[in-house]
């Protein structure tokens, strides 16, 4: 019976796994995010309150106490990972004046949902902020067949917007 069950299981579980695909390097993203300006690597320690908000946004615990980001002037850039269905998607988010400047998918490891890398999707995030409930201020259109990846990008965008407010760059003079 076990052999039969395993055979059945395998017959229903053979999903082609796409190899990780890098669409953009970290350096290329940061150069684009800061338009060639000099930027500096920073770190943000998450306190209890910040971890709670991160959990509220992500719908699960944020599994780190320290987050790296890059900053210059009033702008910050974040490279964060979030799992779509099974594997993490590496997402770059640049934030300026509490609004998103750009979103780029740096690396995608899932077998489905890679359409989120296209500008028709990522450009929807331009100039989007978050409200008091840490929800994006604009409705982002989904992509059929990529629901979980879309959800992951939206969560990371909201998290980057929140984390930006916790940095000194959020209040720095322009």
């Amino acid at each position: 019976m076990k052999v039969l069950l395993l055979t059945l299981l395998l017959s229903f579980s053979v999903v082609p796994k796409a190899a990780a695909e890098q669409y953009m390097t970290q350096e290329a993203f940061l150069t684009a995010a800061f338009s060639g300006e000099a930027y500096k690597k920073q770190k943000l320690w998450l306190n209890k309150k910040m971890k709670q908000v991160a959990k509220q946004i992500l719908k699960h615990d944020y599994n780190a106490l320290r987050v790296r980001y890059w900053g210059a002037g009033h702008k910050t850039a974040w490279i964060l990972e979030e799992i779509g269905k099974e594997r993490p998607i590496t997402i770059g988010v640049a934030v300026s004046n509490g609004q998103i400047d750009r979103v780029n998918i740096l690396e995608f490891r899932e077998s489905r949902g890679w359409e989120v890398r296209y500008p028709f999707f990522t450009e929807q995030f331009d100039a989007v902020g978050v409200d008091d409930e840490y929800t994006l201020t604009k409705n982002i259109d989904g992509i059929s067949g990529a629901t979980l990846s879309v959800r992951a990008v939206k969560k990371v965008a909201a998290l980057a917007l929140y984390l930006h407010t916790q940095t000194d760059f959020a209040n720095s003079a322009q």
Partner: protein
């Protein structure tokens, strides 16, 4: 002649209707109990929550119990089924080989393929990063962490969390080596092992469809479906062909 036949048929159908109704009712409860959570699988995170290792045997999956790990003071770090453990605590994923681990004054450092983890002594993740190359080995000397990358020893800066300079002399670096796990630790980890693809959504779906019980289970569910169809048809017929009340 026609009337007794119709009466006989009605009595027979009533008998079958009641019998089938009882079986179908029991099965309907089962379908509802498994179906409603499936309908709300995303909200209930069923598609992301793996089933416990005790249920994996239902699928004929034998969990491989880890035998070796790296000692970190009085704790152990182990990789099993693509997961990383600190004692029996699941701290993240480990899709490649566990390369090594060292304990420093500032916390615990673990490398797994390209992924590196820096933890507090209590096991809380401080930071993780994915390096450009897979780590071959992890070592320490005077509180500093060293990695073997492409067979070259390099310093790893825990503060900046990035690879530093190449080390010329490795003599003083103590490279971590795996050791046999105490049975208490390996048993505790075996209970915690999950298979990421085997989620509660899949488990409930296989129960709901009967697939959990092999091809016979699927046929059984089909039969129950046909029984419900028979119930619906016979119920309508019995209602329409009900004998008219006699008026005195």
């Amino acid at each position: 002649m026609l009337v007794p036949f119709k009466r006989k048929l009605r009595i027979l159908l009533l008998k079958w209707h009641r019998g089938l109704g009882l079986i179908a009712a029991l099965f309907a409860i089962f379908l509802v109990v498994t179906g409603i959570p499936l309908n709300h699988g995303n909200d209930l995170l069923l598609d992301k929550t793996p089933i416990p290792s005790s249920l994996l045997s239902w699928y004929g999956i034998q969990v491989e119990i880890p035998q070796e790990g790296f000692k970190l003071g009085d704790r152990w770090t182990v990789s099993a089924q693509q997961q990383l453990f600190l004692d029996s605590q699941n701290i993240g994923s480990c899709r490649d080989q566990l390369a090594g681990a060292v304990a420093t004054d500032e916390g615990l450092f673990i490398a797994c393929g390209r992924q590196v983890y820096f933890l507090t002594n209590e096991g809380e993740v401080i930071e993780t990063a994915e390096l450009r190359f897979a780590v071959g080995s992890v070592g320490s000397n005077s509180g500093n962490v060293y990695l073997k990358l492409n067979k070259q020893a390099v310093n790893f800066d825990l503060y900046e969390f990035e690879v530093g300079e190449v080390v010329i002399t490795e003599d003083k670096i103590k490279w971590s080596i795996p050791d046999f796990l105490p049975s208490a630790i390996s048993d505790a980890i075996a209970d915690q092992i999950i298979v990421e693809d085997m989620t509660w959504e899949r488990f409930l779906l296989d129960l709901h469809s009967g697939r959990m019980f092999g091809s016979w289970g699927v046929w059984f569910v089909d039969l129950i479906g046909i029984a419900i169809l028979v119930l619906a048809v016979s119920g309508v017929w019995l209602r329409l062909a009900r004998p008219k009340a006699k008026h005195h």
